[in-house]
Structures are given as C-alpha cells and as structure tokens.
C-alpha cells in the first residue's frame, strides 16, 4: 500500500537499481528458504513500522548484511501479552513499557532502542485556530504550536461540543471536542495517550501506585469511552484523517513519525491546511527491539548502528539516536521539527499502565 504509493516518487536511477535488486532478492525469499546466503529473520512489530520494514531500500540494506527480514504486525500490547513469540526472532513493540514486559516475561536482558517518536496530534488549520482562540492551542518552546493537555482536559471534563466553542463557524459539529485515538485495550498509541493525560490529571506527576491510579481514572476513562468505537491500529485514525478529512477526524493522535514520514514522502497526502501539534506535555514512544535469538539481535544492532538504516529510519520520520541524522534528513527535504521537545514526560511503569488500561477496558 504505502510502499507501492511511494514507488511513484522514487526518482533517481540509483534508487531504481536498488529497487530492482530488492525485487530479485525478494523473488528468492517468501515461503521457500532464502537463497544466496540470505538468512531469514522473522519479527513481530507495531504496525506503524511496517512501511519502513517493507521499503525496498530497507530490504536491500538488510540484504547487504546477509539478512532477509520478514515482519508481521500486531498491537504493542498484544505483542507483549497475547502474540506467540516463539514464532519470531525479535519483537519490536512501539514503546518501552511493552518491551520491558517481554524482557521480564522471557528473562531477556538485552534490548535495542534504535529510534523513537514523540506523540502529537494531527489536525487542520481551522481547528488549530479555533482551539487557539479557546486557549487550548498555544505557542510552545521553540515556536512550535502545542496542544495544552491541561486546558484540553477542562473541555473534555465539561463534555464541551465543538459547536459550543465561542465564535465557532469553522467546525460547528454537534460532537464533543475529543482527540481520536485507538482502542486502549489493544494499541500502544492509546497507552501513550493515557500516559500523557494521566500525568496531567495527576497534577503533573507520573502516576504511581493504586491511590493515584484511582484518582485519575474517571477523567482519563472518559477520554476513551466518549469516543465510542475506536480502531485498533494507529494507522486507522491517521488514514481517516488523511483520506476522509476534518469532518470525520478533526484531531487524530499520531506518532510524530507518521506525520513527518508522510511529509518527507512528499506524496501530496499532507495537504496545505493540515497541521501537526505536539501535545504539552508529550511522551516519547521508544520503539524498543527485544531480541529473541542471535539473528534477532543482529537486526537490533544493525538498526542501531548501521548509518544507512539510520538514515532510512529518519526518512520515515523516526528520531534516531544520533539527532543529526534526523535533522539532516529533514533539512534536505526543506522540513523542520524541534530538535528536542523539552516538555516531555516519562510514561508510568508497565504495571501501572497495564492496570490503568485494564480499568479503562472494564468500563466498555
């Protein structure tokens, strides 16, 4: 899907040659054992990294290191809890809490965090202006607009509808001001959203312990339940945002990488009236690879150390360990993003996050 789309924008002859090489390599992959010395390595990943892993340039880069990496996608919580990991050589969920759970359950001490991405909200210029008037959107550090979660929680606590915002002619929808997220029972981005909102609801402190959990739950549960049905993969709301527009999804919770990746791709799917706002505070979703075999560990090492793979990850909008790689890729494309988001907080421990997600899940 996205890969096929991207091929349209592939311009240079060099890349074409690489792509042909990739096709040849793939031709031998698949259900038969990989030939020509390529070692097949199978992993399970969060869906937002699928486009990266299936990109011909990434496949070619791994092939140069003798690896044929094949991936299945699943929600990060599912990877940590229900997916049968015996079928895979690495697990690559989208956040550190999920990775920690896998490490603990399987007694694994190593992990690689080759890239990360802060949570953000994809929206539209008229919505951003409306929320700026309402004091929810403001200038953050470095001149980037942010969505103030504390002010946002005031609106959601009161059940404010869009058409109740003063002076709103741009989007007078009779539905609540709510960020569209994924299903908190299944998806990592919803868990990250819970991390952000629970921090603010807890008086700007990471939630820790049953007492604090109980205190913040009413406010944060409402953020999910009031949405009604939610999808189970972060690509879902973001695609709705891109394809169906403002009416359906005025505010979509996204990974920065999803939005920036689309911009870097330059495929026209980010239209001029689209905006990305960082949440204030935000959390970094730390994509953490847990190796389940030696080959799986190789994949993690390569992603962390191979400059080519690092550059490619940055071209998908991921922030690399070396911030210059991400900055260079953006600069070359005439794009920019804050080098560092100062207003970033840590997610709660996996146990706290799990207990809160379970409690939210019980209210459905």
């Amino acid at each position: 899907m996205s890969g096929v789309k991207r091929r349209v924008s592939i311009g240079s002859a060099v890349v074409l040659v690489l792509a042909v090489a990739a096709v040849v390599v793939w031709g031998r992959g698949g259900d038969t054992p990989a030939g020509e010395g390529l070692t097949k390595v199978r992993g399970v990943i969060g869906s937002e990294k699928q486009a990266f892993f299936t990109d011909p340039r990434v496949v070619a880069a791994f092939a140069r290191h003798g690896l044929d990496v094949e991936v299945d996608t699943a929600g990060s919580r599912q990877i940590a809890t229900t997916v049968d990991l015996d079928r895979y050589e690495f697990a690559f969920p989208s956040s550190s809490p999920a990775a920690q759970r896998i490490q603990r359950d399987r007694g694994i001490t190593t992990a690689h965090t080759p890239f990360q991405s802060p949570m953000a909200v994809a929206t539209f210029e008229p919505i951003a202006a409306l929320l700026a008037d309402a004091g929810v959107v403001r200038a953050g550090a470095g001149g980037y607009q942010v969505l103030d979660i504390a002010r946002y929680l005031e609106l959601t606590a009161a059940g404010t509808r869009w058409d109740q915002l003063p002076g709103n002619t741009a989007y007078p929808a009779r539905k609540n001001v709510l960020i569209t997220t994924t299903d908190p029972r299944e998806s990592n981005s919803a868990a990250m959203y819970l991390a952000i909102t629970s921090f603010v609801a807890n008086g700007d402190a990471v939630v820790s312990g049953p007492e604090q959990e109980a205190r913040v739950l009413p406010a944060v549960t409402k953020l999910f339940l009031d949405q009604g049905y939610t999808q189970n993969s972060t690509e879902g709301p973001f695609e709705d945002y891109l394809a169906a527009g403002m009416g359906k999804t005025p505010l979509a919770l996204v990974y920065e990488s999803q939005y920036v990746g689309r911009r870097l791709r330059g495929d026209g799917s980010i239209r001029p009236d689209m905006r990305m706002l960082y949440t204030a505070p935000t959390v970094y979703s730390k994509h953490t690879l847990v190796p389940l075999s030696g080959n799986g560990d190789r994949v993690g090492q390569l992603l962390t150390t191979d400059p080519e793979l690092g550059g490619l990850a940055a071209s998908f909008g991921f922030r690399t360990n070396d911030p210059r790689v991400f900055a260079d890729v953006l600069a070359r494309a005439g794009e920019s993003a804050p080098a560092e988001l100062v207003d970033a907080v840590e997610p709660p421990s996996f146990e706290t996050l799990e207990r809160m997600l379970d409690e939210v899940g019980k209210r459905y």
Binding site: Q50, N176, Y364
Partner: protein, 539 residues
C-alpha cells in the same frame, strides 16, 4: 505486503524499462495461487468483478460465504468461524468489537472502501421539502418525518448494518450529547425518534431487497404505495441512480450534523496460518493501490480510503462529520430494543400456516418450534431481536382442508411475557390433519385483515404463508390470481412472504410473493426456525 509489492514493482519497473520480459504476469514472480475463505456481508457481492481482477493480479481467489451482520458476529463469538474461514469482511468491525468473544478473534484489519449511510429522496420530494440545494440536519429530517411530509424505507437494524447505522446516526444526532450514545440519552429523545421512524414505510432484512422493492413500487410493479425515499448506503443510492431504472433520480441528503460510515475492513482472523496471512496481505495491498481504489469507486460507488486518492465528483460533499458509534454491547442492545419495542411503528403480522396431514411428524414439530422461537425462547444475539415485539399484533391462521379459526394476540407495550406465553401455548397445540386449501386460506386472511387495516392503518402489515404441499382443496392458484384484483386496495398492498417447505409449489409461491410485493423464502434445506427469523426483518 512484500510479495505483492515486489510484484507491483517488478511489473512497473519492467514495463518502464520496456524489457522483453514484461507483461503483468511477470514470469519472475508468478502470482502464487491461494484461496481466502471469507465470511462476508451480502452487499459485497458487487465486488465480484474487482475480485476476479484481483485474483489474476495476485493469485488470491476469494471464496465468499454471505451472512447478516449480527449473524456474522454470532458466528465469530461462538467459534463457528474458527477453521472454516480465514477472514471476515463486513461493512464495519464496530459490532464484533463490542462483543469480547468476537473481538478477540479479529486479527489484522485493512480498510478497503467507505460509504456513509444517508437519506435518498426522490428529486421532486427533496425539492418540495427545500432540501435539494441546502444541507439539513437530522433534527429537521425527523421533524418533517413526524409530519409524514415524506416516507422512506430502511433495513432492519438487527439484520443489516445500513439500518443500524441510520439508527445510531439519528439517535446520536438528536441526543446532541456529542459522545457515543447510551441508553439514558435514547430515552431522553424518544419523542423525536418516534417521529422520525413514524415515516418509515418499508422494512427489509437486506439492503439489496430494499432498493429493489423501492424501485418496483416507484415503477408501479408492486401493488404497495410508492415510497419517497430510502435510508441506505450512499453507494446503494448512487448505484440506483446510475442504473437508470428509477422514474426520477434520488437526491442524496447527507445530514449536516453527521453520519455513520461503513469502512469495510477486510479482517484476517487471529488464528489464521501463514498462508492465509500472506494471501490477505497480497489481496489488501492490491485492493488499496490507487488504480484499484478508483476502479472500486467507479464500479461500486464506494469512497476510496487510501490517502492521496482523489474522491472525485460523485462523492459530494466530501467532508462528512462522523458521529460516534457506541462501543458497548449494552448501548447497542438498548438502541435495538428501543427501536423494536418503542420507536418504530408497530407491526400487524398474520401467519397463514399449513397444518395438513402431510405436516405430521417432524414438519409440524419444526413449525411449532419456529413459532415458539419467536416468543423469546431464542436468546442468541440475533434471536433476541427477532422475537415478537411489544405492541405487535400477531395472528396465527392454521389451515388444512379449510381455513381454521384465526387466533389474534396483541403484545402489550410493557410486560409482554404473558401474551408471548399464550402464543407459545397456541403454537405447541398445533396438530397436523386433513387437506391443503392454500388460496381459500389466503383469501380468509385478507378478509380477516380488511377491517383491522381500516380501523388501524398505521402499522407495518405483512402476511407469512407457509405450506408444505400443493393446493388440494378450495380455489386454485389461477382462480386466486384472477380474483386478486378485486381484493380491496389497502389489503392488496400487504406483502405476502411465502415459505417453501416440504413439497410446496415453488412456482406458485414465487408468483404469490411477486404479485404482492413480498419475497419467497426457502425452508426446504435449512431449518424453518431460521427462515421465520429472517422474515422478521421484513415485518
């Protein structure tokens, strides 16, 4: 993904490089043949030509088994899909998501296309109401419906997603709470909802039959009164217009305060093996290429869902407010139960059932349990919403050599248990004996219905005619057909849903259904109880 991508890349590159090895069936990567067994909503039958093309391009052949939305959820939840299907494909995954046992069986889901549920009104009606050039909201629509300024047809919300989406849409919009609707909010807007559903003139168990019936009435083919519009998928309404069979086209009304949109996720079952997983990936990658997205839009009138693929002009307005959809089974149940027992116009239902000697044994037992099943004995996900409803008037007219005495039951608005128990006792007391006077009995049903319709016309009227044999006593089919024109109009307009059972004459019963604007159901192979449940969608 990777194989399809490799194939697409290879094809594109080879074509671009104009080498001699080109052609879509690139010999370097011949499509691997695979079969994907898919449990699907019946409206997806219109994807057949596109899936044939997909099979050529990807090697993946889709093997459809069609079922209703709630039935599909039930199949998933009870494990009936495990091992029998590789994937499910319904208008949305919102229903199964609310049923934990079904939700946990869903794997990777890939949206293929979208269509909002909207109101289509005959052009002249839309113009008369001043809605042709102006966006209106559900509130105004409900108000005009309450005045009976127009009538419409809609599918049964427990049988079909378009009906349920409309119910959610109108309830959420009228409740105006801005969040996913719940039981309390529904109760608060009961008068407005009752007004809206007061204008519903036709119900159906399937979206396809509904649009056919609309067209047959609009052209005068069916005896029933003409209807001003349909609540249905935008794609169904656009297809009706495009087919050109309507006397006047439908004007599509997209309520400004929001709609509920079907997004057709082709969903792998969680327990599927590698082969199915790969086939699902290849197929969905193909269906989501810009070219195929455009083909889907042109062929089925459903909206593209892939970012960057232009919507095109037929889909106006492009930007629709999406109403929140209830995520809990409690809210779904509350909505359905309010619709059936409170909001919609009540039904008057007449069962003309064969109790001739040939029904003795298993057949009469099937008939008894089919009727008993509608009295609340079936508490499955679907069964609960197919039973006789509060406010419904149910008449059972058993017949053999002559029509028997009709027994009339009126289910009260509250506490229906005692009357339902009465129907159950009556059904259990049916005995098989004697001959088969089908048409004398149907005449008798018409005579029975006449005064009732005149006294209380504002109901959904229908007759169910079930027989297991050929007509042997009284007037024959030819005589019935000849005298049909002299049946008083209000009764002649009542659709007859005929049920083929045992040796029932297929040709005659099909014609009775066609003459009356009904539908023929076949219970010769499946359980009679299921057919009786299915017919509930049309009553």
């Amino acid at each position: 993904m990777r194989k399809a991508l490799a194939f697409a890349l290879a094809a594109a590159l080879l074509a671009g490089c104009s080498t001699d090895a080109g052609g879509p069936a690139d010999p370097a990567r011949p499509p691997e043949p695979a079969v994907l067994r898919v449990l699907a909503g019946s409206e997806l039958a219109d994807m057949a030509p596109l899936l044939d093309e997909a099979a050529k391009a990807t090697g993946v052949t889709v093997e459809f088994t069609f079922t209703g939305t709630l039935e599909g959820v039930e199949t998933l939840a009870t494990g009936g899909a495990d091992g029998r299907y590789d994937a499910v494909w319904f208008s949305s995954n919102r229903y199964p998501a609310g049923v934990p046992e079904a939700a946990r069986r869903l794997g990777n889901q890939v949206k293929v296309m979208a269509s909002p549920v909207v109101l289509g009104l005959a052009e002249s009606t839309a113009r008369r109401l001043g809605w042709a050039d102006r966006r209106v909201g559900w509130g105004e629509i409900a108000e005009q419906a309450g005045r009976r300024a127009f009538t419409y047809g809609m599918t049964d919300p427990s049988a079909s997603n378009s009906g349920f989406s409309a119910l959610v849409g109108v309830a959420s919009a009228l409740a105006g709470a801005g969040r996913a609707v719940d039981a309390g909010q529904i109760a608060a807007v009961t008068p407005e909802l009752t007004a809206f559903f007061g204008a519903q003139a036709l119900s159906a168990g399937s979206s396809g039959w509904l649009s056919d019936a609309y067209q047959r009435r609009a052209t005068g083919q069916d005896p029933g009164p003409k209807i001003d519009g349909l609540v249905n998928y935008e794609s169904v309404l656009l297809s009706l217009n495009a087919a050109g069979g309507l006397p006047e086209p439908l004007t599509l009304i997209h309520p400004v305060d929001g709609v509920v949109t079907a997004d057709y996720p082709l969903t792998l079952l969680a327990g599927s093996g590698d082969a199915a997983r790969a086939a699902h990936q290849r197929l969905t990658d193909h269906l989501r290429t810009p070219e195929v997205q455009r083909r889907i839009a042109d062929t089925t009138h459903r909206r593209p869902v892939v970012p960057g693929v232009d919507l095109g002009t037929p889909f106006a307005p492009a930007d629709l407010v999406e109403l929140p959809f209830p995520a809990t089974r409690e809210a779904v149940d509350a909505l359905l139960s309010a619709y059936f027992n409170k909001l919609r116009r009540p039904s008057r239902t007449l069962y003309v059932v064969d109790v001739s000697g040939s029904m003795a044994g298993d057949r009469i037992a099937s008939l008894r349990s089919a009727l008993v099943g509608l009295t609340g004995a079936d508490d499955s996900l679907t069964g609960r919403f197919r039973q006789f409803r509060n406010r419904e008037e149910v008449t059972v007219l058993p017949f053999s050599s002559t029509p028997g005495a009709p027994e009339v039951f009126t289910v009260p608005e509250e506490h229906p248990e005692a009357v339902l128990a009465g129907i159950r006792r009556f059904a259990e007391g049916l005995e098989a004996d004697g001959g088969t006077a089908i048409y004398d009995s149907l005449d008798h049903a018409y005579r029975q219905l006449g005064p009732a319709v005149a006294a209380d016309p504002d109901r959904f009227h229908s007759i169910v005619l079930m027989t297991d044999g050929e007509n042997a006593n009284g007037k024959d089919f030819a005589a019935f057909r000849a005298s049909f024109g002299s049946v008083p109009a209000p009764v002649r307009q009542v659709p007859v849903f005929t049920v083929l059972f045992g040796e029932g004459s297929s040709a005659e019963l099909t014609e009775v259904a066609a003459m009356t604007g009904g539908k023929v159901f076949d219970a010769r192979r499946g359980p009679l109880a299921e057919v009786f449940q299915e017919i509930r969608g049309y009553q």
